[in-house]
């Protein structure tokens, strides 16, 4: 089928501002938007610049705004997004070139929540035991691939770049609710900051955007509740 892909282009060495360019290509309904973009790059214009790697929704490289919604280009099929598709960079992070944004502010927020296991007790000879139920408590948030679809779909993040954002909170949740971890107090302190969880206005864009189907808004809600309970 014929597909029209309208892409926001920007080359920092040539352009003063982003502009839109349309490409008409042949695609199968089951082709990924990523396939379409790579086809354009391979056969029409090699300067088209995107990040991509695994091409099946696991590495998180190719987050972009497709028809106004944050998605991974490799998990979006033309049969689902239609024959006229607009593609632009995820919002709220500086654009480097075409669909590539500067991920550093996002990674900085991620690093701020102590996204690592904290337990200074001497480790046992074998594994630390954990019940299936305790594991289930945080299992969902371990699926996060740091693609930034959630954070860059969040109006609160667009309004205030200091807001830690949904992804960082999901990463914190992964440890806060891990029965083996001892860093909860420190993390809750960080997250109760004015730029922490309270900037979340439960708009649910993050949940809609997550390609891993993490219930992000609910996860943030659990962290909010934990902060409140910890202060009682």
């Amino acid at each position: 089928m014929k597909v029209t892909v309208k892409i926001q282009r920007f080359n920092p060495e040539q352009d003063s501002a982003p502009y839109w360019k349309e490409y008409s290509i042949d695609a199968e309904p089951t082709d990924r938007v990523l396939d379409g973009l790579l086809h354009i790059k391979n056969t029409i214009d090699g300067t088209l610049t995107i990040r991509s790697s695994c091409a099946h929704g696991i590495c998180g490289s190719d987050a972009m705004r497709i028809n106004g919604v944050n998605r991974l280009a490799c998990k979006s099929l033309f049969k689902d997004v239609g024959t006229t598709v607009t593609v632009e960079p995820i919002a709220g992070l500086p654009v480097i070139k075409d669909l590539v944004v500067d991920m550093e502010p996002f990674m900085e927020h991620y690093r701020a929540v102590l996204p690592f296991f904290i337990n200074d007790d001497p480790a046992p000879q074998t594994e630390r035991l954990q019940s299936h139920e305790d594991h289930q408590r945080f299992d969902e948030s371990t699926k996060c691939i740091l693609c930034a679809c959630c954070t860059t779909s969040c109006p609160s993040f667009w309004a205030n770049e200091d807001y830690l954002g949904p992804a960082a909170i999901v990463q914190a949740h992964r440890f806060i609710f891990d029965s083996r971890d001892h860093g909860t107090a420190q993390r809750l302190e960080i997250l109760s900051d004015p730029d922490g969880v309270w900037r979340c206005r439960t708009i649910f864009n993050c949940t809609d955007a997550c390609p891993r189907e993490i219930k992000v808004t609910q996860v943030i809600g659990e962290v909010k509740k934990e902060i409140l309970y910890s202060k009682l």
Partner: protein, 601 residues
Amino acid sequence: MQYHYHKHDVIIVGAGGAGLTAALYAGKEVDTAVISKLYPTRSHTGAAQGGIGASLANLEKDTWQWHAYDTIKGSDFLGDQDAIEFMCKDAPSVVYELEHMGLPFDRTPEGKISQRRFGGHTNNETKQPVLRACNAADRTGHMILQTLYQQCIKHNVNFYDEYQMLDLIMVDGECRGVVAYEIDTGDLHVFHAKAVMLATGGWGRVWNITSNALTLTGDGAAVVLRHNLPLEDMEFFQFHPTGLFKLGILITEAVRGEGGVLINKDGERFMPKYAPTVKELASRDVVSRAIYLEVMDGKGIDGKDYVYLDITPDTVNKYFEIDDSRQPNGELRHIDSDYVRAKLEDITDFCKTYVGVDPTKEPIPVQPTAHYAMGGIPTDIDTRVRANESKKDVVTGLYAAGECACVSVHGGNRLGTNSLLDIVVFGRRGGKVMAQEVKEMDFQPIDADAAAAKVQAELDGILNSTGEETLAVLQQEMKTVMSKDVGVFRVEEGMAEAVAKIRELRQRFKNIHIDDKGKRFNTNLLEAWQLGCLLDLALVTAESALARKESRGAHARDDYKERDDENWMKHTMAYMDADGKVTLKYMPVAVTTHKPVKRVY
């Protein structure tokens, strides 16, 4: 000549499981930095699904010796037995260590690390599949990658994210650094180091249908080859039996470990014909060949080149009964849809997203997919890169670990779960060894200007080339010929054609043009450079394969159907000179206890 200069005791190239583990260990003791062309969490370790092998015996009896023998047998007796024993013995301790780093493994009812069945892993007494693959649902690699990266953040490891390594700095046969390209700015960076570890992953992008990421272009292995150093056993490349039809996306062996069966167009479960004891859980080379033979026999679904992988509970439970397949507690095995969804969460998602199939209700269309390089940069157990086939000489300052390396623990065919094990075991070993060695060393002099100028000239060659050839065409022609002639089954004539074709493509590569001539985020330029790597690796793969006149592991020849231990139980060491002339030499296999026997599953 403008470039940036950096100095670190240890430079690690690649931020997958091997690179990050090495960085953690080296970084605790000496100044260590990781260079990666991707953000670390984008590395392909994250795509590994089913599990990491270790004889924890959490659910039933198991020993590291069984694990070692299974690995040796899986390797078709080409793996070095001393290295395999080291890895399997070390396995429980690295898995516990990952757990202590917080890795969220699935749990047994007692709260221990959960383990599942996987191809080629057996109880050596009963010959039946054993519960050995430690898993976090079907995203074990994702959890390993995330956990290691988290620990690197905790321990303040230095990262140079989105830097493409383009060359090693070799002086008097020693490695003293690397030259890298900062993707965002197009600037060159010279990294002066006492030790360099390559952990750059595989090169599945040589083939058409592959489970590998677009970025798996074998950069580290190709750069080593260009320094007149050998690559080992390049003819052994694994085709995973179950890639999603047309897309090649990995459908984990854990589907079969959990009871999934392979079905042809007649509805026949065909694996018992090929592997009567363990059936679908034979080693991957055996299962891939079985699928290929079914297709050749006209038994592919709809007359096409794929079969069904069936994990629907009704089918699976039926075969559990027929096979009398039991849990360790003696109960008959039984699964339901919820179990499938929980244990194979990502697989369920992939099938729904890409082929519109709910695997709890319908079978999954699968075909073999290029998956894993058993061969690569030859190293000893300490991850030191071998300088030649002497087994004594190593390249001072150069180390390699993970898929790009060949220790060789996988020999002719890797067992599932052993790649995740390999990266953590040898990443840890390499990190420790490098830390120890650099403490007793000074930085040796380099000519940074010359090193940067050499790389700049190489890039300028691509940027200024105005020929007619395009990357897309050359890449497709390479993939087509390699898939046709150096795939699951091989014959003399086809491989000879492939060698000639790849030589032609290497010539035409000199005549390419690219559209993007800019400095900022020029992925067009890097793709061209990476295609050059793939072409070099394709050439030595085809040449190494053509020379090996036997069938062993993943190297299956129609014209030499049997394994020939007398003449070919040896490692290929392939060298390539500047003109692309390939010279093959050979190195003995390390045999400790297990003499080769015929492989039967």
